[in-house]
């Protein structure tokens, strides 16, 4: 079969899964999980089929498009239901379907007692379908459709426990910010379409060098608008505030959507549109600056947040900052490489976090988690592997991929070297906050829940409570289920976490400087036209290794710092907190971004809204327009009403009078 046939199959299976589970959600019960998992697994198989079939083609012919039908093809618009199968999209669908399959498997156990079990899998399959449309789409129309679908799926899953107020408001926040990104994508498309007269990727890439010169204003504007979309979806400054709140969703959702796949869509977008960004270096630099700023800001916030899932969420933003920085700087294959390894270890970290949260009976606060090392050896091992990979410790996956980006940036020189060095600062922060989590949750004296677990019993709260507000909750539909699950007792969770842990260990070996370049070689046909991806910009083997060693040392320094603060001398963090209250306050309020957005956007919008309601709506519209029209009609009617006397002879007289006038007019005008 051709690669595109496989590509359509990749889309077909999640679609079937969504519809089947969604339509028969009352009938399926437990089977919904199996249907959902199998659908995504088949999709993964089809993705592998597409990979093999694409590798069977010569290097020049590895960009294949296929369209099922035209939405519209008039007046120069060529909107088609079209997919583009090339190394970039194959890479993305492999990561998305692969990680999704494992997370579906994990969810079958994790969500078992939830009353919305079938609904959950319908949403999750819908999310995978949307994400696959996003990465497989062959034109900007499909991109926009996928982009918006993904936002909607994210909203549905964040607000999955819809009777929790915190969850629904977090869902709304995420949706609003994501729609802002959708608007950016649509407007950016118009800027490109105006000049290239086509919405297909390949057509507009081919036309771009002829219609744009370097840094043409329209191209820069278009790229900046695309970046707005990328920042909103990938939680980059200043549109990042939704991601931490998105942790209100079930943990596997955080793992799949808000760590492994959806939030990396921005990176995919920049890599996909690299021909534009190469022609618009100004826009690319903006992207890199924002990525770098997010890397540092999110890293510092992660140092003080005490909610386990939110620490990992800030870590996600920070790691995506690396990818955005790398992709903007031209390290396309390195950025995608880091995207892949990050998907492995971040999904793993979230799964392990879900297991601990299960053992803590739903509590997510790091302040109350201690000493789970003995009670949960499997979870501890997985968390440790994920943490080491995240901190970039050899030989785990994150080490190769993160330092690949930094080495590229350092090698490019100029301003990019600054970004590279700041990347090392980020690496220090990464090691520090990652092991802060590990040392606090797994080391020290066992907390009561850990002790209970060591005696073979999972802790259950007296009454289920919302971990954010402490409100008492039900376990009925729209709330988390009554049962708590941990990886140690569930084979499905064990298999999923074990597979990801293995991938987090060996995933980095795909691309070792001087040894093998699997990902770079695989992606090179798609990046053939990009001068920044040429060999001259790649760091030499020795520089790359020096970078790797520096990165490893910095990661180890971060871990040592965390060890000395949280294990060797406990209480240091409290002392620091007392010594520097201003800094701690600043960080614990997340750099006051929520307050800033509230002040700059929300309040003015509210003021304008109130003004519209009180003045425009009430006085101008209700009083002036609506009132004026009705008054005119009413008085007109009252005037005409008098003519209706009810006397037949009066009507006949009027009729004859009118007739006479008409006849006279024609008689006079004819002579």
């Amino acid at each position: 079969m051709s690669p595109t046939t496989w590509g359509w199959l990749v889309l077909l299976f999640p679609l079937i899964g969504t519809v089947t589970i969604g339509v028969g959600f009352k009938r399926w019960g437990r089977a919904a999980g199996v249907i959902g998992t199998v659908a995504i697994a088949l999709s993964f198989v089809a993705a592998v089929g597409a990979l093999l079939s694409l590798l069977g083609r010569p290097e020049g012919g590895r960009e294949v498009t296929s369209s099922l039908w035209n939405y519209a093809s008039s007046a120069g618009v060529d909107a088609k239901l079209q997919i583009l199968v090339d190394p970039i999209s194959i890479f993305m669908i492999l990561v998305v379907t692969g990680v999704s399959t494992l997370i579906h498997l994990y969810s079958t156990a994790y969500m078992r007692s939830d009353r919305g079990y079938a609904r959950y899998f319908a949403y999750l399959n819908f999310f995978v379908l949307s994400m696959l449309i996003l990465v497989l789409g062959g034109n900007f129309i499909m991109l926009t459709v996928g982009w918006a679908f993904v936002g909607a799926a994210s909203y549905l899953l964040i607000s999955f426990w819809y009777r929790r107020n915190t969850a629904t408001s977090a869902g709304i926040k995420a949706f609003v910010i994501n729609v802002l990104g959708d608007v950016g994508i649509v407007l950016g498309t118009f800027f490109i379409f105006r000049h290239t007269h086509t919405v297909s990727y390949l057509g507009s890439f081919k036309a771009a060098p002829h219609v744009f010169h370097t840094d043409s204003p329209d191209l820069v504007a278009g790229c900046l608008l695309f970046l707005v979309g990328a920042f909103a979806k990938s939680a980059q400054l200043p549109l990042h505030t939704w991601l931490a709140d998105a942790m209100e969703g079930p943990t596997p959702v955080s793992s799949l959507i808000h760590a492994a796949t959806m939030v990396t869509a921005g990176v995919y977008l920049i890599v996909r549109l690299h021909p534009f960004f190469q022609l618009a270096p100004t826009a690319a630099e903006v992207g890199a600056i924002v990525g770098c700023a997010t890397l540092l800001v999110a890293g510092t916030i992660a140092l003080v947040v005490t909610d386990l899932k939110r620490v990992i969420a800030y870590s996600t933003m920070s790691q995506i900052g690396y990818m955005i920085m790398g992709a903007s700087g031209g390290a396309y294959s390195a950025a995608l490489f880091h995207l892949m390894t990050h998907a492995f270890f971040k999904a793993l970290l979230f799964m392990a976090a879900g297991s601990i949260i299960g053992a803590m009976a739903g509590d997510q606060s790091l302040d109350r988690m201690h000493g789970f090392r003995k009670a949960m050896p499997f979870t501890f091992a997985c968390f440790l592997i994920g943490g080491l990979a995240l901190s970039g410790i050899p030989p785990f996956a994150g080490w190769f991929s993160k330092d690949d980006i930094i080495a590229y940036l350092n090698n490019r020189g100029g301003i990019w070297e600054v970004f590279g060095i700041l990347g090392y600062v980020g690496a220090l922060l990464t090691g520090l906050y990652t092991f802060r989590m590990i040392f606090r949750a797994f080391f020290g004296d066992p907390s009561p829940e850990a002790v209970e677990l060591e005696h073979g019993h999972i802790a259950h709260a007296e009454v289920p409570r919302n971990p954010m507000t402490g409100e008492e909750e039900d376990t009925d539909v729209g709330f988390p289920g009554p049962e708590h699950v941990i990886a140690e007792r569930e084979w499905a969770m064990k298999v999923a976490m074990g597979a990801l842990a293995a991938l987090a260990v060996v995933g980095g070996f795909l691309q070792i400087p001087g040894v093998d370049h699997v990902i770079e070689n695989f992606l090179s046909p798609a990046l053939a036209g990009a001068p920044l991806a040429a060999a001259s910009h790649e760091p030499s083997t020795s520089t790359a290794w020096i970078g790797l060693i520096i990165g490893a040392v910095i990661g180890l320094v971060g871990i040592t710092l965390a060890y000395s603060v949280y294990v060797a001398r406990p209480g240091t963090s409290a002392r620091l907190q007392r010594r520097l209250p201003a800094v701690h306050n600043f960080l614990i309020h997340k750099w006051y971004f929520d307050e800033l957005i509230d002040f700059v956007v929300v309040r003015p919008a509210l003021t304008i809204g109130r003004f519209s309601q009180d003045v425009l709506d009430r006085i101008v519209v209700t009083g002036g327009v609506t009132g004026g029209v009705t008054a005119a009609v009413r008085s007109g009617g009252a005037a005409v009403r008098r003519a209706q006397t009810g006397f037949l002879r009066y009507y006949a007289g009027a009729l004859i009078f009118g007739l006479t006038i008409v006849v006279l007019y024609f008689l006079i005008s004819s002579t």
Binding site: R642, F647, L648, R649
Partner: protein, 99 residues
């Protein structure tokens, strides 16, 4: 031309009909006056047909007679309905449809 006199007669009959419709209050008489107007029209049609030497006017006159027959049926039906309900047989007193 002598045909002009036919038209004059037609106009006079039409005006008598109009005057009757406007002045009289008995619906039966109004109906009769309407018939006068219609027949005045017929006379004019036939005259014009003679003037131009075609048949169209005469055929029109026939059709007008058919329509007049229908109209009389409806009108008489209304008058019968009015007298059955013991309403006054006077158009000026039947003015409930005023605005």
């Amino acid at each position: 031309m002598t045909l002009g006199w036919y038209l004059a007669v037609s106009a006079i009959i039409f005006c008598i009909g109009v005057g009757g419709v406007l002045v009289r209050r008995n619906p039966l008489v109004i109906l009769l006056c309407l018939e006068l107007m219609l027949n005045a029209g017929n006379l004019a049609l036939v005259t014009f047909a003679r003037m131009h030497g075609g048949e169209a006017g005469q055929i029109f006159a026939l059709i007008v007679m058919v329509v007049a027959a229908c109209e009389v049926t409806v009108g008489l039906g209304l008058i019968v309905a009015i007298s059955r309900r013991n309403l006054p047989v006077d158009v000026d007193k039947l003015h409930e449809l005023n605005g």
